[in-house]
């Protein structure tokens, strides 16, 4: 009996992997086509954003801040936040955009969100790697002091982004009013994303306040992983993990509910 259940679980898992793979390829073809550099465009935006804002800061704030190179500092902040902003933007109305594919029973609505999120994730990881390699070549970016911590921070940051996407996708389907609030919410999120600062630069009171944001915790981990002893980092690994777990639960419940009332043309 348990054996049968396990093999069923395994088959379903294999089906979902196949579906997500197919959805990702389909998404890449529709978004980037097969011409010129194709899906490498996905790296372009985070790179441009990080690079140009980094340069602006370089000239307005000076080459270093608190002993850390400004361009590298801004770049490490901007690439994660473009992942967050793109992920959220891509989750809005994701079911309506893909509804013709719901004719195939093996495609679940969570697959739509997952496929799009994984594409954004791969894009920003490639951008991150590319940027780091280039900046290391120019000697403005250190070889990461603790690569494990960097990756852990990145994964935790991504997990929280994903949990938000999982909530925003179905919500945008329930009420269009939600969509109107998303641009302003992502904008207000910027100060709470840990983008422009290390928490240690703040006063203790404000520091505790900022550390309530899961993004800040993830960002502190990444920066500690990169600069090591050159910076002081404050983080609690459980905050983003617990927030993501709660977010994913709510998101999955919402998806289930929305699927029941979704009308497909």
């Amino acid at each position: 009996m348990t054996n049968g259940r396990f093999s069923r679980l395994f088959t379903s898992w294999a089906v979902q992997v196949r579906v997500i793979h197919a959805l990702m390829i389909r998404e890449l073809i529709t978004r980037f086509g097969r011409e010129n550099i194709g899906f490498l465009w996905i790296m372009a935006e985070p790179l441009l954003f990080a690079g140009l804002v980094g340069l602006v800061w370089h000239f307005s704030h000076g080459a270093t801040e608190h002993g850390v190179n400004v361009i590298a500092f801004v770049a490490t902040g901007y690439i994660p936040i473009t992942l967050f902003r793109h992920g959220v933007a891509r989750s809005v109305a994701v079911f309506t955009a893909n509804q013709s594919l719901l004719y195939h029973r093996q495609i679940k609505i969570v697959d739509f969100i997952l496929a799009r999120f994984i594409i954004e994730l791969l894009g920003s990881m490639m951008a991150y790697l590319f940027m780091a390699v280039v900046l290391i070549a120019f000697d403005v970016f250190p070889i990461p002091a603790d690569i494990g911590l960097l990756i852990a921070g990145w994964l935790i940051y991504c997990l929280f982004c994903f949990s938000l996407c999982l909530i925003i996708g179905p919500l945008s389907e329930i009420s269009e009013a939600w969509e109107k609030f998303i641009p302003v919410t992502t904008y207000i999120m910027i100060p709470f994303s840990g983008l422009f600062y290390m928490v240690s630069w703040m006063t203790p009171n404000f520091r505790d306040f900022l550390l309530m944001s899961p993004f800040v915790n993830g960002m502190e981990m990444m920066r500690k992983g990169i600069w090591g002893d050159k910076v002081t980092a404050y983080y609690d690994i459980w905050n983003p993990i617990i927030c993501s777990a709660i977010g994913i639960m709510i998101g999955l419940l919402l998806c289930r509910r929305v699927r029941r009332i979704l009308t497909v043309e």
Binding site: R26, T30, Q99, S100, H104, R105, I261, L262, V264
Partner: protein, 215 residues
């Protein structure tokens, strides 16, 4: 077998409430060819979507113990911005079939040649029908759900459908919504009338068509 037990579906939009199906009980056995009759808006497409798992019932349950195709109709199943071949590749992937086999069958069955390299949104409904039938026949389902679309095809297409669907695959089941009494009379051995939210299965097709005419 496909068993619908106590199936209900209501749509709610902006405070408006419409009960489309209300307690439908229906069983389709292996080899049944069921014609679906009903006036416009009676709920034929809704019933097909519920059986196909495209939409979820408000209450009740659909049990499928054979493989059921996606509803072949005017909408759905394809991504309009992708080409016919890309859609075929996508479907081969999610149904775990060899793309080369599917492609060969699709090229052969649709006779659409270079058109298959064009986005599906540029296709006429007849061409869509050809592609949908070709793909679902290539995958081989036990039961085919067909929503109207069979009649948009030309003579050549109808002949092919006849050969592939009704001669080569006689053991398969079929649920087909159609307004053509001739079609249902010649291809179905049972009929369902959908009226006022209920569905009645009748074993005598002629009697069902007579009843449908009086609606």
């Amino acid at each position: 077998m496909i068993i619908c037990s106590n199936l209900s579906k209501a749509y709610t939009h902006g405070g408006q409430h419409k009960q489309v199906l209300n307690g439908v009980n229906l069983a389709i056995a292996r080899g049944d060819r069921v014609g679906l009759l009903g006036r416009n808006g009676a709920g034929k497409s809704t019933l097909i979507k519920l059986i196909g798992g495209v939409e979820m019932p408000t209450s009740g349950k659909v049990t499928r113990s054979m493989s059921v195709s996606w509803p072949l109709g005017f909408a759905g199943g394809f991504q309009g911005s992708l080409t016919g071949f890309d859609n075929a590749r996508f479907i081969a992937r999610i149904y775990q079939r060899e793309y080369s086999d599917i492609r060969r069958f699709v090229e052969d069955f649709t006779e659409m040649g270079k058109q298959l390299r064009m986005p599906v949104k540029t296709y006429s409904s007849g061409m869509r029908a050809r592609l949908a039938f070709a793909l679902s026949l290539a995958i081989e389902f036990d039961c085919y759900l067909i929503d109207e679309i069979i009649l948009v095809g030309d003579q050549n297409f109808q002949r092919k459908c006849q050969a592939e669907m009704f001669e080569k695959r006689q053991d398969r089941s079929m649920l087909v919504a159609s307004h053509s009494p001739d079609f249902i009379r010649s291809f179905c051995n049972k009929a369902v009338i959908v009226h006022e939210g209920r569905a009645t299965l009748m074993n005598d097709v002629d009697e069902a068509i007579e009843q449908y005419d009086r609606l």
